[in-house]
């Protein structure tokens, strides 16, 4: 089996079969990660560029580790201290690095559409590691993998994404992916953090966290950007926590079986209380472990795909 695309730009329009293939392949790599020697020679001789225009800790380390465990050669670009900081254009930067012969590019950028743009200016396989508020497909894939691992399947589940949906790239990828896998998806947050006409994506909107907890199997809780949002989109962090923060009390009252996920980094005491972040309801660190396996799967499937 092979993926139907040479790139992973997002999950919009990606088929259930392709997602299934990635998740199943990830299961194999998940086993590799439990071995004493966690390395396989699959991508030996392949060169992968991690092109990070925006800061990232988790995603970047996760990709790097996935690349190394597949024995690929990796090079890293970060904007700070680079030629881009000296004013070189994105296109020139990419063309220059590509001239050093890279096979795959993992890209994170603050502008939506950059991964797609890369496919026009580069011959490499492109994997989107987050573009603006658009998509973050590998995050959604690892979220789905983690749900499947914990609950046995995705089809028929009710999943709610909670928080600042407007500024999230995780939300859209999760909506597209989960819907393709047969889950029903809702969003919950203050009205100012719900994107315009999100209902057009077949998503139900909640403004009441208690109701959202009560009516869903899974809550995928997003980070609130403290610096940016307080005072503009929400009156204060305190008010956010009081009305949308997830606490053990709320879970116990509404739905003790609910599964809590978070893509990190967590603001403890804002979107999640520490009790919840460390408690029995959550699988946050499993998500991180699974992230490496899922990214290995994506790298493997794109890196070894036979030429069409």
């Amino acid at each position: 089996m092979a993926l139907s695309s040479n790139h992973l730009l997002g999950l919009q329009g990606v088929s259930k079969e392709d997602i299934q293939l990635i998740l199943d392949t990830a299961t194999t790599f998940r086993e590799v990660l439990e071995r004493p020697i966690k390395k396989v020679p699959t991508l030996q001789g392949k060169t992968i560029l991690n092109l990070f225009y925006e800061n990232s800790t988790r995603t970047r380390l996760s990709f790097e580790l996935a690349e190394k465990r597949l024995s690929a050669d990796t090079i890293n670009f970060s904007k700070a201290g680079s030629s881009a900081a000296k004013g070189e254009s994105f296109k020139d930067t990419v063309r220059n690095i590509e001239s050093m012969k890279v096979d795959m590019i993992i890209v994170r950028h603050e502008s939506a559409g950059v991964p797609k743009y890369l496919t026009q200016i580069s011959d490499a396989n492109i994997i989107n590691a987050g573009d603006g508020r658009h998509e973050h497909p590998t995050q959604a894939l690892l979220d789905m993998y983690s749900i499947r691992e914990r609950l046995g399947g995705i089809e028929g589940l009710k999943v709610c994404i909670v928080g600042d949906i407007s500024h999230s790239r995780v939300a859209l990828s999760n909506i597209y992916g989960l819907q393709a896998m047969g889950a029903s998806v809702s969003v919950c947050g203050p009205s100012t953090m719900i994107p315009w006409e999100i209902e057009s994506l077949g998503v139900k909107v909640y403004n009441n966290i208690d109701k959202a907890i009560a009516e869903h199997d899974v809550l995928n809780v997003l980070r609130i950007q403290l610096e940016r949002d307080a005072g503009v989109l929400i009156p204060s962090v305190r008010e956010y926590h009081n009305y949308f923060g997830i606490t053990a009390e709320r879970i116990n009252k509404n739905n003790p079986n609910v599964l809590i996920m978070h893509p990190g980094p967590i603001n403890r005491g804002v979107e999640l209380s520490s009790e919840v972040a460390d408690g029995p309801f959550q699988i946050i660190l499993n998500q991180v472990t699974n992230g490496v396996a899922v990214r290995m799967a994506v790298l493997y499937l794109l890196g070894t795909k036979p030429e069409a």
Binding site: H109, A112, G113, G132, P195, W196, S200
Partner: protein, 429 residues
């Protein structure tokens, strides 16, 4: 020199003129209209114009010529060449140059550059010094130097108090205040706010940011009696506000760009930066509202908002690419293809919106097609089928989303200031 236009349909709604005639032009003046025997004028350059239409020279009231400041993107001369190639004998150029058109010196600089060109270039002066929204520009002095309207285009006039002053002060001149309608506190997005912006994850600009400034201008025009012109209207609600204001007798006019009556925000799914402009492409319902407003006269003018940008500026990440597309050389073709050949507007209406009304808004005389008048004419072949090729543009820039688009209808020749642009060359006549 003599030029004889043979068998052309002479169309000027302003003169209630629509007849097939020959026109003899001598030294830039219309000498004779009627049935003219070619033999009588052996030395004349004869243009056989069967099935072509001769109209008062087209006028684009909203272009950016980039000079002074960004001569790498466009100059007064290359922009004028682009205008002539697109069928225009006159343009009004916006003041967001560097330096800004906020002193008589800059106005004279532009006048000098355009003096010898076929295309008449009328500068628009800034409303406020350096378009900063802090203090009024010397509007009387600018008008004396040749400015025909005022705008902080690219930006809104920052405060209601300044806009009020401008609408009062400009009444001494009779020139309109042309407003780039966008509430500054909601500006800065990369596309229209809609379900598409939600899907694409791009920061968005809501239509209400336009509507608020449109209604502000209407209310202040109504209060002061000033002349208010809405640049590049794009929102359905704004059009409704203008329509209603016109019914009340408010002195308000409006223009729309060809891209806003042609393209919707669905196109942005390609992340093509040549689809990024401000105001952004709106939803299909807005596109349809533009056409209706053109039909019922709510929108007076079609104007290109010709905005040249260097290749390297547009070859950029979507959120960083600058706003704007060029339009002088596609405007007539788009108007004819999308509005005339679809039966939405008549040829008379097209001529009104591309020639007569923009001049009226700016208080410029409308060229007459009569004996003894200066020849200021555009000759149109409404049936000519052609494919847009940005590499053939006279403009210095190539940032058009219409490259490769097939259009029906184009300018064959333009005549003005004793010059003619015909067969891709300028000749003195």
């Amino acid at each position: 020199m003599q030029v004889l236009l043979k068998g052309v349909r002479v169309l000027n709604p302003e003169q209630k003129l629509d007849q097939k005639s020959d026109i003899l032009i001598e030294d830039g003046i219309i000498k004779e209209i009627g049935l003219i025997e070619t033999e009588k004028y052996q030395s004349a350059k004869v243009l056989e114009l069967e099935d072509k239409i001769c109209v008062p020279g087209l006028y684009d009231m909203h272009v950016h010529l980039r000079e002074p400041g960004r001569e790498d993107e466009e100059t007064v001369v290359t922009g004028s060449n682009s205008a002539a190639a697109g069928g225009f004998t006159g343009v009004a150029c916006m003041p967001n140059t560097n330096p800004t058109i906020d002193t008589a010196e800059v106005v004279r600089f532009i006048a000098e550059k355009s003096e010898k060109h076929l295309v008449e270039v009328n500068p628009i002066g800034a409303v406020t010094n350096r378009r900063k929204g802090e203090s009024l520009a010397p509007m009387l002095e600018l008008a004396d130097a040749g400015v025909v309207g005022f705008s902080d285009d690219g930006d809104v006039v920052k405060t209601s108090a300044l806009l009020r002053s401008a609408l009062e002060y400009s009444q001494m001149i009779g020139a309109p205040i042309i407003e780039h309608c966008e509430d500054g506190s909601m500006a800065g997005g990369a596309m229209n706010e809609s379900k598409i912006s939600t899907q694409l994850g791009l920061p968005s600009i809501p239509t209400v940011a336009e509507d608020i400034i449109v209604i502000r201008g209407i209310l202040l025009a109504e209060y002061t009696g000033g002349k208010f012109h809405v640049a590049h209207v794009s929102s359905k609600r704004s059009v409704e506000l203008i329509r209603e204001a016109k019914q009340r007798g408010v002195n308000v006019t409006a223009e729309v760009t060809p891209h806003h009556f042609t393209l919707s925000d669905e196109n942005i799914k390609s992340f093509n930066t040549n689809l990024k402009m401000n105001p952004p492409l709106r939803e299909q319902k807005d596109v349809e509202a533009m056409v209706e407003a053109l039909q019922d006269g709510t929108i007076d003018c079609i104007a290109s908002d010709h905005a040249p940008h260097a290749i390297e500026e547009k070859e950029m990440e979507f959120i960083y690419a600058p706003n704007g597309i060029i339009g002088l050389e596609t405007q007539l073709g788009l108007a004819l293809t999308e509005l005339y050949h679809t039966g939405k507007l008549t040829l008379q209406q097209i001529v009104e919106k591309l020639s007569i009304n923009p001049r009226k808004v700016l208080g410029l005389p409308v060229p007459k097609i009569s004996e003894g008048e200066k020849a200021n004419l555009t000759i149109i072949d409404p049936e000519l089928e052609w494919e847009v090729d940005v590499n053939k543009f006279k403009s210095k820039s190539k940032n058009s989303p219409f490259n490769k688009k097939k259009l029906k209808g184009a300018s064959v020749a333009v005549i003005n200031k004793s010059k003619m642009f015909y067969n891709d060359e300028f000749i003195n006549i």
